[in-house]
């Protein structure tokens, strides 16, 4: 894949990272925060592989791809743990939101 396509997807990754970051800050519901974190993760992976394809090299660079595979697996385990935390918070407090962020 040419460098230009790599940069295009890397920029898409930056946009996704920003989208996720904004949603993470602004949304109060924990489930949405978890979704936002996942989107940020996908954006990061795109930036890694996008920046790692093309350029001076001719073959696709396997190291960022391996890192991204590791990242995907770790992201799913972190999501599972975060979801369990959210369910526990919902069970204990009755709302799936952190106590300081609920209005009133």
């Amino acid at each position: 894949m040419t460098m230009a396509a790599g940069i295009l997807y890397a920029l898409v990754g930056a946009a996704l990272f920003g989208l996720g970051l904004h949603a993470l800050i602004v949304k109060t519901h924990l489930f949405r925060k978890i979704l936002a974190l996942n989107v940020m993760g996908s954006g990061t992976f795109l930036m890694l592989v996008g920046a790692g394809s093309g350029g001076i090299r001719v073959l696709p660079d396997a190291v960022p791809q391996a890192m991204v595979i590791t990242g995907i697996v770790v992201a799913v385990s972190a999501t599972a743990l975060a979801l369990t935390l959210m369910l526990r918070i919902a069970e204990e407090t009755g709302h799936a939101e952190l106590p300081g962020e609920r209005s009133g």
Binding site: M1, V26, S42
Partner: protein, 322 residues
């Protein structure tokens, strides 16, 4: 190396726009269920993007784990969230208290700064970046496999994969120790015969595909994590089809053994190579291929079982009196 044709540009542009649009809609949708569905669609389109970036292994992992299993996890958690008696409506969020009203534009401004910074960095460093592709290609013959991604994952950066298997197990331990009493089985409808037949039809195929992905990972796109995800997906279908949601019919101890198999295999191999060769996970080139296959097999079983356990939650370990 081909140049970008107009069609290629159009396709990539469409794909990129689709990704951003799907993510935006998923994050801003008022219904949580719609958000998850859009997120799964986002993951599948992302898998297409990986194919465009010449990363078929990543595409397989993204489709199986990123879109499929993450979607299952999110929907399962959503079901448990709505099943519990005390939960707020999923629409109520975002701008609620006064601080939120102030925070929105501030966050947007800060995010724009971050995006611009990232974009500028990427545009500057990418054209002159060298990467490690040449080193990987040079040492590929000595690694024992011919798929460079597998070589990096299991040989050159085997230490990272060791830590990864440990992290997944750690997430399971954490989730288990937090646990919830909310049980999906009690809130769910009785199983459908169509689903049970589908599960039984799928079982031999999924095992075959998983084994194939594991085996072919040595010389073509595939590998342990993709195979483990397929096995976990089979487990999820079975968990959803039986009346006792996710309760495994097998006895508890062998199940725990399978969960630990992956990290244990890595740690044992690391210890042996440390003692015999002086470096962690430095395989003798003659045996590297076999060693990698053994480690990958252990990792596949482990990843599959752990991901299934993460999905099933507290009912995974319920002993059915055996």
């Amino acid at each position: 190396m081909e140049t970008m044709t107009l069609l290629g540009w159009a396709f990539d542009g469409l794909l990129g726009t689709g990704l951003v649009w799907l993510a935006w809609r998923a994050l801003s949708s008022p219904s949580l269920f719609t958000a998850v569905v859009l997120f799964v669609a986002f993951g599948l389109v992302l898998a297409l993007a990986w194919v465009r970036l010449d990363a078929p292994d990543v595409a397989l992992a993204e489709a199986a784990i990123g879109a499929g299993l993450t979607g299952a996890l999110l929907l399962g958690a959503l079901a448990r969230l709505h099943g519990s008696s005390a939960h707020k409506s999923p629409g109520a969020d975002a701008v609620r208290s006064r601080t939120r009203v102030v925070a929105w534009p501030l966050a947007a401004a800060a995010t724009l700064v971050v995006i611009c910074g990232l974009a500028a960095t990427l545009i500057v460093i990418t054209p002159t970046a060298v990467g490690l592709g040449a080193e990987v290609a040079r040492n590929l013959r000595a690694s024992g496999v011919s798929n460079p991604v597998t070589a990096v994952l299991l040989n050159f950066r085997g230490y990272d994969t060791l830590l990864e298997t440990a992290v997944v197990l750690l997430a399971l331990i954490g989730a288990r120790s937090i646990g919830t009493a909310i049980d999906v089985a009690s809130a769910s409808a009785p199983g459908s015969p169509v689903l049970e037949t589908f599960a039984r039809f799928l079982a031999p195929l999924a095992i075959l595909v998983g084994g194939y992905l594991l085996w072919v990972g040595a010389y073509a796109p595939g590998g342990a994590f993709q195979a483990g995800a397929v096995l976990a997906a089979l487990g999820v279908v079975f968990a959803l089809s039986s009346r006792k949601h996710g309760a495994m019919p097998a006895a508890e101890f062998p199940l725990r053994l399978v969960l630990v198999l992956g990290p244990a295999a890595f740690v044992v191999t690391a210890a042996i190579t440390l003692v015999l060769r002086g470096h962690l996970l430095e395989y003798p080139p003659v045996h590297a291929g076999v060693l990698i296959m053994v480690l990958e097999a252990a990792a596949t079983l482990s990843i599959g079982a752990t991901l299934l356990a993460l999905f099933s939650g507290p009912s995974f370990f319920r002993n059915n009196g055996r």
